[in-house]
Symmetry: C2
Subunit: 124 residues, 2 copies
Amino acid sequence: MEVNFSKTNGLVPAVIQDAADSTVLMVGFMNQEALDLTRETGRVTFYSRSRDKLWTKGETSGHYLLTKEILVDCDEDTLVIKVEARGPGVCHNGFRSCFYRRWEGGEWKQVDQPAYDPASVYKS
Amino acid sequence: MEVNFSKTNGLVPAVIQDAADSTVLMVGFMNQEALDLTRETGRVTFYSRSRDKLWTKGETSGHYLLTKEILVDCDEDTLVIKVEARGPGVCHNGFRSCFYRRWEGGEWKQVDQPAYDPASVYKS
């Protein structure tokens, strides 16, 4: 079996990790088509659960994720994709990584500073 | 909202990353109870989708994952947990990380060597 898409409605989690310093930038979901497109184009493409369609990260912002390495886990139901991230950040809130808050003293505390102004990138 | 468990049947993916060198060791799923237990005990506890119950990583092998840091993403529906991993590896196939295969030339190629003998840890 190549990848097992049967466990979560045809989707597997894809952990996006910066190939240079191993920071986890974001986690998205992929179906078979998204994975095929990611391999063919070299640009990470997800399946959006909320919008119910494929989306290539960067298609709006220009901040593409260029695929360097695709790893699969022992159960063949989760991917780690090492990337070169174009642009200052992947998070639509303006941070380099979507994981910019840490659990501390009973609440989520911001532990990173914004890397860019999202209003200049995600125009309405 | 603290964590949004509504998108995947009450579960969120939890990326387990080695706190020392940032290697992604495994990805599991958590429900609210698993997250609460992880915080209270300091040992990572998942919700097993195949066995339909909570399981503390290490309860059979002794290879516990000691929680150092819990991060949440912008959508509050995915966690990154930085850990100190007890034992030589987290993968039940004997590898340090579950992500020991890379997509190369149209197939998954093993890119790491086993770290321990699973038969000595996971007795039947």
